[in-house]
């Protein structure tokens, strides 16, 4: 796995400036919403601005204290996305007479609190590597929870919710983080074995049947989710996550080939056997067919209305509060992208997509800079889940791929998605802090050994491996801080 280093400079002031800008964007969006409100500026405007700004600044201070070398771009991007999302939900509330924005704001507070707790509790992402199988067990438990009678309930055809009293939650959202932690832990320890063993056929090096095990497990989990919970989106997400992580770990194209074959098999199976998958496919292929449009269950009305919304937005959009995004069913969760596209136009939507692209690229950059393979895999996997979710949602609402029920990260109304994505952000910030802080290079000294505690051998080994990799592969491209003089080359 490759590695690129930057100068180890904390850039918290840059982050503060960008954060203020992001907050201005968020509050500005909300202000525009209030302009279209007949009651004028309501108290929602003030509380939303205050909560978002307050939590963002607390998070910024937390980053200053605990992870001062963390990436300065991630937090402003996420705050801007979250703020625009809340504003849009608030705007739809005004029409639908709902209070989803208040709930979303509450969840934003909870989610940012959870992110801060994650930063405080984890501190060094490498401690998460110690027990990969515990994370596997947790994710299995979380995935099974909605199937427990009395706890889970079927909503819109999918059994992915649990209800505890008045609270509802989608445990699958947290399961994706646990699965990413398990895959990262498993692959970082088994990477060498998977990489070396296996026979070569043509340009492809095939893995041994034994090493295929985890991939088959991931595949079965995805199929299980699809069959038991009728949740196409999550099943795509889980399998995509594993495929990308094993590709990042090994760099072998054969894994992608094997994975795609498995996807094809599962896809054919699902479209033949499962009625809701077939419905989705049909409403994708024949979206504009009047019969499909008017179908009572699983019709294409939602998608087509979304497309009409996008087209009425055009290049500059109708302006916030001026369009009719509320005509689209579920406009504040599944279809929030078309709502934004209608009111902000292509120019605004591209800006939002760019925010996602920058966020994902920063996550992958954190992985690239990370000095341990666990951090690399974790950052790559987590940022990929955000990317894949964006792709699946945006591809779905623009009729590029069949629409599946995934949330747009940070924007869709929904607490579980917000919570898990903020935890992902906290983990990415931790990995980036580890990647960007000054490197400890040179031979291991006694002080390090004493500080490292009982599992010294594992850590020392990892350090050596990492150093070998760093020095062995790109010795001329950088100078280490301990080198004394500059690079003679």
């Amino acid at each position: 796995m490759s590695e690129i280093q930057t100068a180890p400079v904390p850039r918290r002031n840059t982050e503060l400036v960008l954060l203020v800008l992001a907050l201005i964007v968020a509050v500005g969006a909300n202000y525009l919403v209030s302009l279209s409100n007949p009651d004028g500026l309501d108290e929602g405007f003030i509380t939303q601005g205050a909560v978002l700004a307050g939590m963002a600044l607390v998070m910024h201070i937390v980053l200053r204290i605990w992870t001062k070398y963390a990436d300065p771009i991630i937090l402003p991007c996420v705050v801007a996305l979250n703020g625009i999302g809340i504003a849009m939900i608030h705007r739809l509330d005004l029409v639908n007479d709902d209070n989803a924005a208040t709930r979303q704001l509450l969840w934003t507070g909870v989610a940012m609190g959870a992110a801060i707790i994650t930063l405080w509790a984890v501190r060094d992402h490498r401690i998460l590597r110690r027990a990969p199988y515990i994370f596997l067990a947790i994710s299995a438990l979380l995935l099974i929870l909605p199937l427990v009678p009395g706890l889970g309930r079927v909503i819109n055809g999918a059994r992915i919710w649990i209800f505890i009293g008045p609270l509802s939650f989608q445990p699958g959202e947290l399961a994706k983080i646990c699965l990413a932690l398990f895959f990262a832990g498993y692959l970082s320890t088994h990477r060498d074995l998977i990489l070396l063993a296996g026979r070569k056929i043509g340009p492809l090096q095939l893995p041994r049947a034994k090493d295929l095990g985890p991939m088959v497990i991931a595949w079965l989990v995805s199929i299980g989710v699809l069959v038991m919970q009728s949740d196409l989106g999550s099943s795509i997400l889980f399998f995509g996550l594993f495929m990308v992580m094993i590709y990042v770990a090994t760099g072998r194209i054969s894994w992608i080939v094997i994975g795609l074959v498995m996807v094809a098999v599962a896809g054919v199976f699902a479209s033949q056997v499962m009625s809701h998958v077939a419905l989705r496919l049909n409403s994708w292929l024949n979206a504009f067919d009047p019969d499909v449009y008017d179908q009572r269950y699983g019709g294409s009305r939602q998608i087509v209305q979304g497309l009409f919304g996008l087209s009425s937005g055009g290049l500059f959009g109708t302006g916030i509060g001026n369009g009719r995004p509320d005509l689209v069913p579920l406009a504040n969760s599944d279809m929030i992208i078309t709502a934004l596209g209608e009111e902000l136009g292509l120019i605004g939507l591209v800006a939002i997509i760019l925010l996602f692209v920058i966020l994902i690229s920063r996550g992958i950059r954190a992985g690239l800079g990370s000095r341990d393979s666990f951090g690399k895999l974790l950052a790559a996997g987590l940022s990929f889940t955000i990317g894949l979710q964006c792709f699946v949602v945006m591809g779905g609402v623009t009729l590029m791929i069949p629409l599946t029920g995934l949330t747009t990260p940070f924007m869709s109304a929904g607490g579980s998605s917000l919570l898990s994505n903020w935890i992902i952000v906290a983990l990415l910030l931790l990995v980036s802090h580890n990647a960007r802080r000054p490197a400890v290079t040179g031979p291991l000294n006694e002080r390090d050994m004493a500080a490292a505690g009982p599992d010294i051998s594992a850590r020392a080994k990892e350090r050596e491996e990492d150093q070998t990799r760093r020095r062995g592969k790109a010795p001329a491209s950088r100078t280490t801080p301990t080198n004394g003089k500059g690079d003679p080359a």
Partner: protein, 160 residues
Amino acid sequence: MSDLVLTALRLGFLILLWILILSIITALRRDLSIGKKARTGQPTAREVRKNPDLAPEPVPAPKKTAHTLAIVEGPLAGTSLELAASPILLGRAQEATVVLEDDYASGRHARLFPQGSRWFIEDLGSTNGTYLGDSQLTRAQPVDVGQTIRIGKTVMELRP
């Protein structure tokens, strides 16, 4: 509020969004640039003043520098290798700099690397261990000219 002001505000919001994007990209420029401007490695004096932990560690005193690695005993006896500025991986794996055809060596057995003006040897968790002189390595240790390194049946030493 008049329609004109509303439209101006709405366009203003789009401009604001793009200002955010452009500022983020400006802030990113430093990471994206490759070459001198990226300044990887050496922190400047100002950065060191602000963050004392960035200060470079003192370099060990220079000794007589080694320029060749000569294999004295073992299957490869008689061969020697010019030492450049890059580290050397010793082991049976094909990717190793010196591929040891020695049944007692591990795939990635040990690593010889320059630090300051000295060379250090570090065992990479090999099965049978690496010996510097008579003692088995437990951590990275500096290798002086003339000291013998033993891996399995292979014995080598640094020469000026």
